[in-house]
């Protein structure tokens, strides 16, 4: 089957940076981080205090009471982002299109808030029964399922769970499905809501969460900051987008994946290198074409130096010219949803020709001596961009995007 070009015709995003793509992008341009003190749960027993919460979120502004009973916060964010993306794409639904649209979402843990509420009922309150809707709320496929119901999608739908790379795997899969003709349109992205007491305690035990903020690539970085949110891209063929006069925000041209086969938490260099090379190969472009990399850039000591080494190995001399920033410094690490938010930001960067910054950058680290766009966004020509995700368990997924220039 002939490979079809795949473009982004709609985007949606909700995170600590804002409840819409416009708000999110403005905060990226202004280098205004959404990270701050966590307020949605009692943090007195947790050693770190900061996170990336969605500010002033009221589920009743988006859902009926009955829907809130049925839908966990993580799925709510997926649905909200999907609604924005579908509206932006101005899709004229037909029964045929609904049948030829797929929904592929990413999340690492699904309905964690509901899981903890159930455990609280059983183990702390000694109750003998949990909420009847616990299973449909907890199941990681809930966001994808609700999105199909929201829009009447009868094409295939599923959820990918690969820790921090979940959404890149989801979007990459969706890209291949549209390109290869398995479907004509995709609603794809991911969501995550890690800010729950038990889950925060689990991260505390690993000692990878910073006590201050997320400082990717800084010598004094202390670790990651957890965030919540969701984001969606609408993907369709170029022909379809042009035919219906849709606005095109960017194009996806490549996807690569690999496994480290190494350690369950420690990152590797070879695996990320391989995923980046595969993505470039899939995009049929050489490394020197890439102008910007949205790094995995968690702010942990291990990831940032290893990712730098991997980038240098893949890009050679071009590593001095390519700008590499981590927007986790702005929205936090949204785990299975993070690369969806980063995809929206990367596509927006190409659309607006602005390089997103790495916020909170203080002291240069000789082991991370890339152009990290420190503390201030930068206008500049950008034709091609890459977005990296390197997950716990050594699962790597990389996307390559191209600026839409009309042809």
């Amino acid at each position: 089957m002939q490979n079809r070009r795949v473009v982004i015709t709609g985007m949606g995003s909700i995170s600590s940076l804002g409840k819409t793509v416009t708000e999110t992008w403005q905060n990226v341009v202004d280098c205004k981080s959404g990270i701050g003190p966590i307020t949605m749960t009692d943090m007195s027993q947790i050693r770190f205090k900061n996170g990336g919460e969605v500010k002033n979120y009221n589920a009743q502004n988006h859902f009926t009471d009955k829907e809130i009973d049925l839908i966990d916060r993580f799925a709510q964010f997926g649905i909200i982002a999907a609604r924005e993306a579908v509206q932006q794409a101005d899709i004229q639904w037909t029964e045929e299109l609904k049948d030829r649209t797929c929904v592929i979402m990413g999340t690492s843990i699904g309905g964690q808030e509901t899981t903890e509420a159930a455990f609280h009922s059983l183990f702390k309150e000694g109750k003998n029964r949990v909420n009847l809707f616990s299973i449909p709320r907890i199941m990681p496929n809930a966001a994808a399922s609700h999105i199909t119901m929201q829009f009447g999608i009868t094409g295939f739908a599923y959820t990918i769970s690969t820790a921090c790379a979940s959404s890149n795997h989801a979007i990459g899969n969706a890209f291949w499905m549209v390109r290869g003709g398995m479907c004509d349109m995709a609603i794809t992205g991911g969501s995550e809501t890690p800010i729950n007491f038990g889950f925060l305690k689990s991260w505390e035990a690993l000692r990878v969460v910073a006590s201050d903020t997320c400082r990717p690539f800084s010598k004094d970085r202390q670790g990651m900051i957890l965030g919540e949110g969701g984001a969606i891209l609408i993907l369709e063929t170029l022909d379809s987008a042009l035919q219906r006069g849709a606005e095109i925000y960017a194009e996806i041209i490549g996807f690569g994946m690999s496994s480290d086969a190494g350690h369950i938490t420690k990152p590797d260099q070879k695996g990320p290198e391989k995923a980046m090379r595969m993505a470039l190969n899939d995009a049929a472009i050489s490394p020197d074409k890439i102008d910007y990399i949205n790094a995995h850039g968690t702010g942990t000591f291990a990831n940032d130096s290893l990712e730098t080494a991997a980038i240098k190995a893949v890009f050679g001399d071009h590593e001095k010219k390519v700008a590499v920033s981590s927007t986790k410094s702005l929205h936090g690490h949204v785990l299975g949803g993070t690369s969806a938010i980063e995809a929206v930001i990367t596509a927006s960067a190409l659309q607006h020709q602005v390089y997103p910054p790495t916020a909170n950058y203080t002291v240069p680290d000789p082991e991370c001596d890339l152009d990290v766009v420190p503390n201030k966004s930068r206008q500049g020509k950008m034709n091609y961009a890459m977005s990296n995700s390197f997950a716990f368990g050594g699962l790597n997924a990389v996307l390559v995007f191209k600026k839409w220039d009309g042809g």
């Binding site: 050693r47 035990a205 690993l206 000692r207 006590s211 202390q222 670790g223 350690h263 369950i264 938490t265 420690k266």
Partner: protein, 81 residues
Amino acid sequence: MEEELLRKVVELIAANNHIPPETITIDSSFEDLSMDSLDGLTLINDLENEYNITLPNEEAVKIKTVRQAVESLNKIITQPS
């Protein structure tokens, strides 16, 4: 005090990593004992629970030997509150 701490460190390492306690000495490194970074942090977390203390992350990640574990523990336990 240090002897007691060493005994506890050895007990925890042996139990968590399924190795005979007599193979663990004050001079053992975690690497010698085939313990990776997660095994090291498991030990620190267990010691925190056992002695009701808190070891900051930046100190915890530096502990790579039995001696360092005992000395860090002793330092926190014996410091005036």
